[in-house]
Symmetry: C2
DNA sequence: GTCCATAGTGCGATTATCGCACAATAGGGG
DNA sequence: CCCCTATTGTGCGATAATCGCACTATGGAC
């Protein structure tokens, strides 16, 4: 059926491209066929096109994402003016707290890191970077994002088949709803031991771009936030950073045009 | 003409998506029509599909890149294991030198930042972030990349219409070839005042992924590298970082499969 | 209200795309 | 060495996706 508002081939191509997220190493065509469910000939055509367009590179008998995809992310970050408006703030906060600090938003049913900073002393815990994704339900970032999302998003998140990342992950929908409600009410969210054992996260809101909420978050070992004073210090720093960063995406009127 | 190895619609869609790189703010459909050269109906169809697939978001009468594009970049970075293998090294080097340090590679005819780190004390100069692009000819990063690229790439770069970013930018092809050759010979590259007045950059090689070279680079004010000893210190730090980082993309055999 | 820029639709012609069946190639094991 | 299988590449007809023109609708500016 022909549809004037939808280019099926493009959508399929993007699906194929998405098959390369999350999997490290090269992917062979049979693997992509398996994951995408498309016909072998179709996958071949799409992969070759993606290669010709620079988004994939051939390596041996398989394909791999090309640095071209970074350019798209660069466009998004440039739009936020991340280099100037986000990075310095994250760095200052990270250094002040001696903890990793990240800016995140929501992409579909996941939280996604937009940018991050960490002091040299910070221990590498999860190895997250720009574009890394986290679950919405079992992280402070995710819950804070949900707290600022439309109810149908929250319900959709709760409806999805839940994966327990740790023993301590809360799985009861009502309890989760309550956590999210609390986050909304108190203006911050904290989660311990639910995504990664021994790790805890804190998140606070930072404006939004369109209807996309953003949050500032930090991660540390669980005990780091036990002392209320320590937690306050972290919250203060994050909120200060949030204030400095201002309303993300709020560019000065009329300066969107010039290069 | 039908082509079994090329999906025209996908390629066009990607072209449309690429129209959103580099431009900040929203783009209206007429603007995209202008830039892409496609028919209005085609652009509409492709934009709507990109929106449906989550790569664009509507905002008022225009479109904007969605955080979805970050997920692709995240896939690329995860493949490099950037969070664990790259970030800590960049951070250590940045702190040791008290300068911004970045990992870059080549995307088409541009240098592109893969990742970066900067100490809190570093002043924001250019506002670059992951996915930011730089010219190949007039930056240290670019020249070091060219020094490690196939001759035809170098010639293509030289053939492109050159833009002078500053008064001091070298424009003579032979002189540029010589600079690149020098970079290859001495194993590092330095450029001053050619891209941004008052700024200088230094770059050293760091292995490669497939046939894609990577470089480590740092930026500072011009006088920072005047003293040979200071330059040596910077080079040492960068080379040390390069060594620690090891051969990028060289994963341990057999660990590409498991999640 | 008119005017202009932008957005959305109908539809016929074209041809890109699909997906099967077949051929070629490449490893790997016996 | 040869066979067996997994993968890759190709021919081709049927299908319907895509194109692009012309027309209509919307909506903000004045």
């Amino acid at each position: 059926m022909s549809d004037r508002t939808f280019a099926a081939t493009l959508a399929k191509g993007l699906d194929v491209l998405a098959c390369f997220e999350g999997r490290t190493g090269v992917q062979t065509m049979p693997e992509v066929v398996e994951r995408s469910g498309f016909d072998r000939a179709t996958v071949r055509r799409l992969c070759l096109t993606l290669e010709a367009s620079g988004y994939l590179v051939r390596e041996g008998r398989g394909f791999r994402l090309a640095p071209r995809v970074l350019a798209l992310a660069g466009g998004y970050l440039a739009d936020l003016d991340a280099g100037r408006r986000v990075q310095p703030v994250l760095r200052d906060a990270a250094e002040a707290l001696d903890m990793e600090v990240a800016l995140a938003t929501r992409d579909r049913m996941q939280a996604i890191y937009v940018d991050r900073a960490a002091p040299a002393s910070a221990r590498v815990t999860l190895g997250l970077s720009v574009g890394s994704t986290l679950p919405l339900l079992h992280t402070a970032v995710g819950r804070m994002l949900l707290a600022r999302s439309a109810p149908e998003i929250v319900e959709a998140a709760l409806a999805k088949p839940r994966v327990r990342h740790t023993e301590n992950a809360e799985t009861d929908p009502d309890a989760l709803r309550a956590t999210i409600e609390t986050a909304r009410a108190q203006g911050y969210c904290i989660a311990r031991n639910e995504f990664e054992p021994g790790a805890a996260g804190v998140a606070v809101p930072v404006g939004s771009l369109g209807d996309r909420p953003f949050v500032l978050a930090t991660t540390a070992t669980v005990n780091r936030f036990d002392d209320p004073e320590a937690l306050d210090k972290v919250l203060d720093a994050l909120r200060h950073a949030a204030m400095v960063m201002g309303r993300i995406g709020h560019r000065v009127e009329g300066e969107s045009g010039p290069d």
